[in-house]
Symmetry: C2
Subunit: 551 residues, 2 copies
């Protein structure tokens, strides 16, 4: 078999979240990112989803390391679940590693972890593969693009990026990116999040101007909620609070953590005596404080949501307060964000949200940024990553416009593999990727089965048929009793339940008389009959569950 570069995503395709991309060559694999995805209403009772790493575990010795582009949860969040099963070195810029270290500490997994700090001048050589980096601008400091050098040419992974020409943090050095492009790039994997947006994404600086305007005209307390990881946004709030003589209280676990780590690394510069303890808030006049808090996505356990529902132990929102939500809703969160906003309105607060005011700028480049990256990198093959299917397709079209040949563009699903050489690229084969969920208790694979039952239970409820049968005589010693949950309101459905009972009784009589059926088949018969009965009578399909005790 000819030597070739294989690339496959284990997460991040046709979804936003749980990013993981693998570049394989001969006996070496480089893994890029290791993210977590927050579960939505499609996965009731589930916290997060992570990439299915079974293929990596089966090829443990090949995996050279996990290279992290930046410190967002959808790029680092699966590490606490992955590292115990695949303990390989983790490479990332200082802030990224700082956040990873802190998370691993919370999970008591720090001991034994191999964390390696890198920067845009780092270079790692393995057998055939080597890895280097270039700096990008995104909504978190220390964001990197990653270059995997292979004998067939470089594979470039952009990470998440936009071209912010007036960033709050360090400026971008285009010559670094041009240098990458000049060396001859085999394939580009690029961030597709905003491929449906025309033009270029506004600079973080524009948000600063809006924050300044809002702070200038607001009289009462200000609650400011944003992603804790958006350190530039935090820096702008810090500066504006200082400018208007307001003290700053920090609320929420991840917000406190972001402040601690970013300040220690010099990404966040905080004037002396600005920060106060949240419990000291009542000592200050309303117009002299800002509360910076988590919860801009309506996360039920975050500070803002608990304040909105009145569940926060010390802080309440009251008339005169202004709440600023500096974020845009991640699809799927819209409804719960509006719920939070409605509650804040009920409490009498003024709420600033949405697009009336430019109070948020995305960290992801729009069409202009994406085409700029394509022009700078000039890849032979293009693989749009990090986006729902529609975003990937739209990004593919943008690539075509910049001159990438249509047959050299590959839209992959999670697990799908593309094999590349300088001369040929083909999509072939797939690596297994099943639904993998995590919660406080660890990992659960094959979760689709559990979810199917949950879905049916939640949509149709449950009907149990309980009876006790003598194993030998097949005499029914107790029941049949019918018990329902989540099916119909019981008090009003007594009649229906009696009818179901009669139905089962009649069936049991027949079964005993015919005597042809094994008792073990009774369950199937009961399910089949009741299903038909309920479908006919009320067009519903609850989970029917015969429980037979054999005596």
């Amino acid at each position: 078999m000819t030597k070739r570069v294989s690339i496959f995503p284990l997460g991040g395709m046709d979804e936003i979240g749980k990013n993981m991309y693998v570049i394989e060559y001969e006996n070496e694999m480089v893994v890029i990112d290791c993210g977590r995805k927050f579960a939505d209403e499609e996965h009731p009772g589930v916290d997060s989803l992570i990439p299915d790493i079974r293929y990596l575990m089966e090829n443990k010795e090949k995996v050279k390391g996990i290279f992290i582009t930046h410190g967002h949860e959808d790029h680092i969040g699966a590490l606490p679940y992955v590292l115990p099963r695949l303990n390989v070195p983790v490479y990332g810029a200082p802030l990224t590693i700082g956040l990873v270290r802190s998370t691993l500490q919370e999970f008591r997994l720090l001991r034994g972890a191999q964390l390696k700090e890198v920067n845009e001048r780092s270079y790692f050589r393995f057998d055939c593969l080597s890895v280097s980096f270039f700096r990008t601008t995104h909504s978190i400091p220390d964001s990197l693009g990653i270059v995997v050098h292979t004998p067939e040419g470089a594979v470039v992974h952009t990470g998440d990026f936009k071209f912010d020409l007036t960033p709050v943090g360090p400026t971008l050095d285009f010559s670094d990116i041009v240098k990458v492009g000049k060396r001859g790039v085999l394939a580009l994997l690029s961030d597709s999040t905003n491929s449906e947006r025309t033009g270029s994404t506004p600079s973080e600086e524009t948000v600063g101007t809006s924050i300044e305007k809002l702070f200038r005209k607001t009289r009462g307390r200000i609650f400011f909620s944003t992603f804790a990881s958006n350190v530039y946004r935090l820096q702008q709030v810090v500066e504006t609070a200082h400018l208007y003589g307001r003290k700053l209280a920090i609320l929420g676990f991840s917000m406190e953590k972001a402040f601690r780590i970013s300040e220690s690394l010099g990404h966040l510069k905080i004037p002396e005596n600005l920060i106060i303890d949240a419990k000291d808030l009542p000592k200050y006049k309303a117009e002299k404080v800002v509360v910076l808090c988590t919860g801009s996505q309506g996360e039920p356990r975050a500070a803002l949501s608990r304040i909105a529902t009145g569940a926060h132990p010390t802080i309440q929102v009251q008339p005169g307060d202004t709440v600023i939500l500096s974020s845009s809703p991640i699809p799927g969160n819209t409804r719960r964000i509006y719920k939070t906003i409605n509650r804040l309105f009920r409490a009498g607060a003024e709420v600033i949200h949405g697009s009336q005011v430019d109070i948020h700028a995305s960290g992801h480049g729009s069409q202009h940024d994406q085409q700029m990256m394509l022009r700078l990198i000039r890849p032979r093959y293009f693989i749009p990553i990090h986006g729902e299917y529609r975003m990937l397709v739209t990004h593919a079209k943008l690539a075509e416009q910049t001159g990438v040949k249509p047959e050299n563009i590959f839209i992959l699903d999670n697990g799908e593999t593309v094999h590349l050489t300088r001369r040929k690229g083909i999509k072939k084969g797939r690596v297994p990727t099943d639904l993998t969920v995590v919660d406080k208790n660890g990992i659960e694979e094959n979760f689709s089965v559990v979810l199917q039952d949950r879905k049916r239970l939640s949509e149709n409820g449950l009907v149990m048929v309980v009876l006790a049968v003598n194993r030998k005589t097949l005499e029914v010693k107790a029941g049949p009793d019918i018990i329902t949950r989540g099916f119909v309101y019981v008090r009003e459905s007594e009649e229906l339940i009696q009818a179901m009972k009669r139905e089962v009784q009649q069936l049991l009589n027949e079964l005993r008389q015919n005597n042809g059926k094994e008792p073990m088949q009774w369950k199937a018969e009961i399910i089949w009959h009741l299903n038909r009965f309920l479908s006919k009578k009320i067009q519903r399909h609850p989970l029917i569950f015969p429980v037979i005790s054999y005596l």
Copy 2:
């Protein structure tokens, strides 16, 4: 007690959907609208919610009629469920009544229904109350505002409206609205949907321009999806198809119905030989057809969704097709709309959606329209209706800006009642409003109980403990067996299930030895012990369900 006007909503407050507002004076009640709300993920397995009309049923003889502002589902959709229990006259403009008639026919409820057509010159006098109408512009023809004349002054209900100055249908006569305002208005109830949008809502005409542009440049087949009730949008598609020599196929039950009824009433003008049967589509070249279909909100059973999933019997989307979604997502539908869009992209279609192109204009007025209405009507009291809480509050502020006194503005919840006289307005008392759901089988009240169980089942699954016990000796004759659904993946949790079994067995031994507990208390004991056990061991809280057969 002084005579006063009482106003209470039975639906439509802090929500979009199931509108119903009641104006009561002495022994008379006028009901405005009778809408249905589509259930979301908060109500798994439920089709729709409707207003709780128990109060109206208890006061049947007082209800003079249901007056409908316009023919949208959230204003007429509950009639098939309400009329069988409250058979009062239904008043509405011709298209509204046409749609109501058609729906009642589907439900076989037409016989006995008292449907009364009205127009802007109609006038109905009851004892103390009388009702008149004024024409408005909205996204469906024949939209009316309703005036309920009371001895204390007029109560004006706007219905849904925007001020469309270049409408596709008949133009607005401002003098009619001014006349209403001049007579002295006690209270205004006004549409709050777009109170968070600045400026005025664009005219339907702007959408026509975009449709024309898209049709001009598109070469392949066009699938055009919009709300079936937006007859003006349909008219513009009809005209543009005709202009570009494309035939028009109509797909989807409600789309066909809208065409039939609107054409017969003269709201839709269709050139001869334009419409073709969907099954004849293959006879025409791709660039010579438009398919107008339902499903712009990603509704799973609508035409577009079935086409996208490949579940439509005759029509598939293929490369070269362009799909236009001419609508904006109703919050809560976002995710499933994007699912449909992703699927269409997978099938190779070009999809036009969202705000890149002005392919949709809201039917609801923005801040400028809302303040215009306030200036024209000049009410003493103001009640923002038809909106989530945040929209109601924002609308209230807009009213204040136009000079309504803050103490004369009432933000109500469903069921909350405000009592008004010329001199005084107070909020006092409430009418019962519980969750009322409907499906093919009719109405179910008190559905909250069922939903609570469904939610717990869907988030944590179910653990059943099955045993058979001798009623007298309390000897366990079979079990305990542990059965789970939607809990953990069974193959991997054998150990956990064995541990639960041991836990229950030990408990049963204790219970039998102590002998102090009644067998009926065993269930509670099992639930309590297993709950504690699972909470400690894996921090989960499934619905625990002991099933004991007594022999």
